[in-house]
Amino acid sequence: MSISANNAPSSFSAFIALIKRDLMLSYRHRNELLNPLLFFVIVVTLFPLGVSPEKTLLQTMAPGVIWVAALLAAMLSLDTLFKSDYEDGTLEQMMLSPHSNALLVLAKIISHWLVTGVPIILLAPLLGLFMFMSAEGVGTLMLTLLLGTPILSLVGAIGMALTLGLNRGGMLLSLLVLPLYIPVLIFSANAVDASMAGLEIKGQLYFLGALLVLSITLAPLAAATALKISVE
């Protein structure tokens, strides 16, 4: 049949169309996007005021503090991932689309990462300077964020999809998702630490890369299945 013959390209065009639509929606709601980013900046800038402005102390704390703030900001931003689609019935229509649900979910996660993860990566060098990080440190920080924030979005999507139908899913979401975020935090903060000490960081980066590949392949499938249950 002609419909199945061109199924592949049309799945891809649905994928692109969904990313475009979500980016357009985020653009029209750009105020909402500022909240997690402001949170990220505020938390990091408060540390020198609250703890001590001493250079060496801030340098030792910097990787951990910036990464913890980035992780919490990513968790804050998860709320917008599926909520409005769930409420207005778009999610139902996604589930009823002949295209692979996992592919459509991946499109949503990618556009979510583009508007929440990428700004965090871009702001990180500035915050690194606040915390007296060295140039190599800032470089590694950006690299770990580049590998790590997509994992946060992908894994968070599973948690969000599972807790979508619940009234107060926020608490449960953190319980579900935080344990899975911890390896990312440990390896990333450790990589930044090591690079500031002039040590080799390949191992940590490989591990983050492996986690990223794993979550790109499995998270959309898991999130799509969870969404199906939530829509029911």
Binding site: I3, S4, N7, S10, S11, S13, A14, A17, L18, R21, M24, L25, R28, H29, S84, E87, D88, G89, T90, E92, Q93, M94, M95, L96, S97, P98, H99, L104, V231, E232
Partner: protein, 217 residues
């Protein structure tokens, strides 16, 4: 209702809500060119039945067959032939009617002969295509959702209360479209609290919680 493998077969399904049975052992065929009107009081399970038929919800017992095979097994074939419009219209208020329909069209991969602008013209939204849907009236939002009916190639339409907040002209336009769809061998399942007058096809009525179909002339 002769050919056992054409169309949609609802095979002895039961559905409960909480501890309440909505309907038990519901069994019927819907063949091309047939219309099914689902009626019943509020809370009698009309929407639940429609969601089960669309594969969005699982029945407690029984199964739904498309062309003689379980819908879970022929998922993409069934979904290509299905258009389900529920209470929630899947319309984004921040997007214009044009953008909303573009998305709907690419989600369903339908290769429409007439374009989106034509569909908007048909539902009387010509001139509104660049206004965010949030600024449209309830009836106009409904019309945006219903414009999908002009874009789709799906043969089985499952519509939950399509007449909600529509004016007389729009209802007449829809009935026209339904008649055309049925005459082209389409299937239609519809719930409505308003009378539906179609001049086409075999029409059946299901009044929940009864499980017998009544033929309408």
């Amino acid at each position: 209702m002769t050919d056992a493998t054409a169309g949609l077969h609802i095979k002895s399904i039961s559905c409960t809500r909480g501890y309440r049975d909505l309907f038990t052992d519901l069994d019927f065929h819907l063949c091309p060119g047939q219309v099914l009107r689902v009626e019943g009081k509020n809370g009698s399970g009309k929407t639940s039945l429609l969601r089960i038929m669309a594969g969005l919800a699982q029945p407690l017992e029984g199964e739904v067959l498309w062309q003689g095979r379980k819908i879970q097994h022929v998922e993409s074939d069934y979904l290509e032939n299905l258009l389900f419009l529920g209470h929630r219209a899947a319309i984004k208020y921040e997007l214009t009617p044009l953008e909303n329909l573009c998305m709907a069209k690419s989600l369903h991969g339908s290769k429409a002969e007439n374009g989106i602008e034509e569909a908007l013209y048909q539902v009387g939204l010509f001139g509104f295509e660049d206004i965010p849907c949030g600024q449209l009236s309830a009836g106009q939002k409904r019309r945006v959702a219903l414009a999908q009916l002009f874009l789709t190639r799906a043969r089985c339409w499952i519509l939950d209360e399509p007449y909600t907040s529509l004016d007389v002209v729009a209802v007449a336009m829809l009935e026209n479209l339904f008649t055309q769809h049925i005459n082209n061998g389409g299937m239609l399942v519809i719930t409505s609290h308003q009378p539906v007058t179609l001049q086409a096809g075999e029409q059946y009525r299901l009044v929940l919680p009864k499980t017998e179909l009544e033929a309408l002339v």
